[in-house]
């Protein structure tokens, strides 16, 4: 069972029911559950979408698109059925927040999906979990069955004439399926190869129908937004960045864990106070602020950095999935870069050539480099390869692979140079990092 953590600075909204047995429907109801869905059923779609817009809730999957805006793009009238798709394919390295939501609060996901369905006029929702999360899928399936038994799902939800059904779905191992169009392909029983956009899913999505796709954390937040009121939720965060985030702090810290903190919380404080500082009192070398795809930040760049989408963007990185990975001074950046690109090389579907070839060549170059056979021109070549992947692929996987590598090469050039001329890696522990 994943260890739950706590810190006085936390503002527990999405995580308020963690550890309280809320996977059981009676307990969830006792803790105020399903009241927001009932309220939304009474208030109607326009009211819901206005509340969502006013809340400044932005997508928790990584892109940070305003959820209310996304919902408003769904056409009111549609010849094809509309769908809600909850993205629980959590697989960005450094990210394990949805893991806890499915484990501790599955009904919040169901309730959020119901509200999304009411807002856009969808009668069917899907909750897609990554294949590795089988035990969480079972928890989700039981919660869905319990919600049906109570009449919260079905053809007459909460005794009304409104229909909303949910189907839970397992993946079978694929990072790329976390991208929204690849997710729809997978749900249609195909390879998770991304679709070109536009059209966007809100207009042409699953089975060709308008589809709202939100991250599981976004959806689980929705009932809380309704309960608190949009204005109250928005004031928890910073301007244009409503509420809190589940920050997953991992790597070289004393107390790793998933902490719920207000948007805009200072990153340095997050590492040194909330997570107890760098492990063993060592010095901080670098931070990956929002999952493996986000460019690395140096200690001097996090001094006054508030963790919201806009501030981290301004600092040259991204808030992404809020997976904060902390690296101490004993970490070899070349090795870390190699392990990062090995992952993306493994996950690239091969559909777009810049991503397929780029990740492969970057892995080859970095493998050679880390083994001590790098040449000075390789450093520029690594940068050149990565720069030429940016913006040249259907889905963001190409960018996700290139951006962190660019960050490492630009900010730690000297450490790359230290690996030249057959010099052994000053930190070397693992030579063969190839994942077959």
């Amino acid at each position: 069972m994943p260890r739950l953590v706590s810190h006085p600075d936390e503002v527990k909204i999405v995580s308020q029911r963690f550890g309280l047995g809320a996977a059981e429907i009676d307990r969830y109801i006792e803790l105020g559950g399903y009241e927001s869905a009932k309220k939304c059923l009474a208030q109607g779609p326009d009211w819901i979408i206005n509340e969502m817009k006013a809340s400044n809730l932005r997508g928790r999957g990584g892109a940070g698109f305003p959820a209310g805006m996304k919902w408003s793009f769904v056409p009111k009238k549609s010849g094809k059925p509309k769908y809600i798709l909850v993205n629980g394919d959590e697989s960005e390295p450094g990210t394990c927040k949805d893991h806890l939501i499915f484990l501790h609060d599955p009904h919040a996901v169901i309730e959020g999906a119901i509200i999304a369905g009411l807002a856009v006029g969808a009668k069917l929702g899907f909750i897609y979990l990554r294949g590795e999360y089988r035990h969480l899928l079972e928890i989700m399936e039981k919660a869905v069955a319990d919600a049906y038994a109570r009449g919260f799902l079905g053809t007459h939800i909460f005794g009304s004439d409104t229909e909303f059904q949910i189907i839970t779905q397992t993946g079978a191992g694929a990072y790329e399926v976390g991208e929204e169009s690849a997710l729809m392909e997978s749900l249609e029983g195909k390879r998770g190869v991304p679709r070109i956009k536009p059209p966007f899913p809100a207009v042409v999505g699953l089975y060709g129908g308008p589809t709202v796709i939100n991250n599981a954390e976004t959806i689980a937040t929705v009932p809380h937004v309704i309960e608190m009121g949009a204005a109250a939720y928005a004031t928890v965060g910073t301007p244009r960045n409503g509420g809190t985030r589940l920050f997953g702090i991992s790597g070289h810290v004393e107390r790793p864990g998933v902490y719920e903190l207000p948007m805009g919380y200072n990153l340095k404080k997050m590492i040194y106070e909330v997570a107890g500082g760098v492990r063993g009192g060592r010095a901080l070398k670098a931070v990956v602020p929002g999952g493996s795809s986000t460019p690395v930040l140096l200690p001097e760049e996090i001094e006054n950095l508030g963790m919201d989408f806009d501030q981290v963007g301004k600092a040259g990185s991204m808030l992404g999935s809020a997976g904060v990975v902390v690296l101490d001074d004993q970490t070899c950046i070349v090795e870390f870069a190699l392990r990062t690109i090995s992952f993306y090389q493994h996950e690239s579907c091969g559909w777009c050539i810049p991503c397929r070839e780029g990740t492969d060549w970057l892995k080859k170059s970095l493998t050679r480099f880390h083994a001590g056979f790098g040449e000075a021109r390789d450093i520029d070549n690594i940068q050149y390869l990565a720069e030429n992947m940016l913006g040249r692929t259907f889905c963001p996987l190409g960018d996700a692979a290139a951006m962190p590598i660019l960050g490492f090469v630009k900010k730690f050039r000297r450490e790359f140079e230290d690996h030249l001329n057959g010099k052994p890696c000053p930190f070397a522990k693992h030579v063969d990092l190839a994942v077959v």
Binding site: T170, G192, S250
Partner: protein
């Protein structure tokens, strides 16, 4: 071929398939879950399993293979009764994921994607399994084991050996 007489699926798996295929707006949406559930029961996607799932979904075997090869959890040859999957991605690596992986290699005497002679264990180095804050972490089949040290490895293997003996004596 008649599925009634030739099926590799247990009656439970067949019933699960039927329920799943009925649920979706389009039958093909049941494909990926069914491949995984069939693999859970039968061990891997053999030619015969692929043929049966393709027939049940109503697509060609070629089309099915085209899809199945995309997903890293789907496999086309047998693994051990207990498939040990060690995450070595960044968060696990920083907290000793490779040390865990090396210890499993030593204890089992096999490398990546190897299977022990008795067929009990197989080993795999895997990508992020979503347990970054509880690193280093592994999965044995679908069970998570978190915040591990190399010293815990023999005990984990012993617990699965006991499990295998327990099921053998009760079989």
């Amino acid at each position: 071929m008649s599925l009634e007489t030739m099926s590799l699926f247990s009656p439970q798996l067949a019933a699960r398939f039927d329920a799943l295929a009925e649920k979706y707006p389009h039958r093909r949406s049941a494909l990926i879950p069914m491949l995984l559930y069939a693999q859970d029961e039968i061990g891997y996607l053999s030619d015969a399993v692929i043929a049966e799932v393709a027939e049940r979904i109503g697509i060609t075997e070629l089309e099915l293979r085209n899809v199945a090869t995309y997903y890293s959890m789907l496999r086309f040859k047998p693994v051990g009764k207990f498939n040990v999957q060690v995450c070595t991605n960044i968060s696990c690596m920083l907290r000793g994921g490779y040390e865990i992986y090396e210890r499993f290699q030593q204890e089992l005497g096999i490398g990546n994607k190897g299977v022990t002679a008795d067929g009990l264990f197989s080993l795999e180095e895997v990508e992020c399994i979503g347990a970054c804050c509880w690193a280093p972490a592994i999965q044995v089949n679908y069970d998570f084991h978190e915040e591990l040290t190399p010293e815990q490895v023999p005990g984990i293997l012993a617990s699965y050996r006991d499990k295998a003996e327990g099921t053998a004596t009760h079989a």
